[in-house]
């Protein structure tokens, strides 16, 4: 399969994402420049972390109008797999590919630390290689990761099992202390209605080797590569 990593001006996890996906057997990885309008027949598009267009105005708000995003939206409309990590998640929300918004962290600080994630739904195309309730350790690094959705959207997300990852403590419990950004219901990642667009704040691509502190992200990357329509 072929994975395409989009590079916006200001992306800074593009190379990490490239490495992480490259490590998976049978996966070919390509970079896609934001100014291009060609997805080069990739099977999965990755919107990596960073500060696309300097995060001016709002994180992801300018990036959503990059030429490649038109193609990404068409691609996802026709069932193509798209995953947005951190800034990529922000771009997906601004593009309307996922519902809700990411606001400033509730403590108003940029948060850069390890978190523990619980797999809330192992039945999505992206998470079939994971176990329900499995815990993973990986870093978050963001100033705007405080997920918000209005009450109706939130109850729809919850009732349709579209919250894919949640911040929990070591015991697997959702607590305020385990939540790095004040995200509603401890939400760390969500999926769209059709199940082909995933957005998450934590960085699996930064947890793929023991020297980085955790290899847990590799499980998520591997599982994402198993996505088949």
């Amino acid at each position: 399969m072929k994975v395409g990593i989009v590079i916006f001006p200001g992306s800074n996890c593009d190379y990490d994402a490239y490495q992480a996906f490259k490590m998976i057997d049978g996966v070919e990885v390509e970079y896609l420049w934001h100014g291009s309008d060609d997805l080069r027949s990739v099977d999965t598009v990755v919107l990596p972390g960073g500060f696309a267009h300097g995060d001016y105005l709002r994180a992801g708000s300018i990036a959503r109008f990059s030429p490649i995003m038109k193609r990404v939206i068409e691609f996802s409309d026709s069932g193509g797999f798209v995953i947005g990590i951190c800034n990529g998640f922000q771009v997906l929300l601004e593009s309307g590919l996922l519902p809700g918004a990411l606001m400033k962290n509730s403590n108003l600080r940029f948060v850069c630390r390890d978190v523990i994630l619980r797999v809330e739904n192992a039945n999505t195309a992206f998470t079939s290689g994971l176990k329900q309730g499995q815990l993973f350790k990986m870093p978050v690094a963001h100033g705007e990761g405080n997920y918000y959705a209005d009450t109706m959207t939130l109850s729809k997300l919850e009732s349709e099992d579209r919250v894919v990852f949640r911040y929990v403590d070591r015991g697997g419990v959702v607590t305020a202390e385990a939540n790095p950004n004040g995200s509603i219901n401890g939400i760390a990642g969500i999926i769209n209605e059709k199940g082909n667009v995933l957005g998450m704040m934590p960085h699996p691509e930064r947890a793929i080797e023991q020297i980085l502190g955790s290899i847990d992200g590799g499980h998520i990357v591997r599982s994402v590569c198993m996505a088949k329509s």
Partner: protein, 82 residues
């Protein structure tokens, strides 16, 4: 004709504004006991070439709803000055 439009973007009432709260607390610490609430926002000043004032207002509203504000969490107000 050239018009100037002022677009004020702020968080919706239903959305928590931790920045506003923090600033409010700081003001309270400074003795501003009669300031009950602080809301933060952004102001954009747009210079617009348009035939009429209402055309300019329409352009500014379009810009606000398409890019300047995120309708999920924000609201906006447009004022046009000739």
């Amino acid at each position: 004709m050239k018009f100037q439009a002022k677009v004020t973007v702020s968080l919706k009432e239903s959305v928590l504004d931790p920045q506003g709260q923090t600033i409010g607390n700081a003001l309270l610490d400074l003795g501003f006991e009669n300031i009950l609430k602080v809301k933060t926002g952004k102001i954009f000043t747009l210079e617009i070439d348009a035939e009429t004032e209402s055309d300019a207002a329409r352009t500014a509203s379009e810009a606000a709803s398409k890019l300047l504000a995120n309708p999920v969490i924000e609201q906006y107000k447009v004022e046009v000055v000739p």
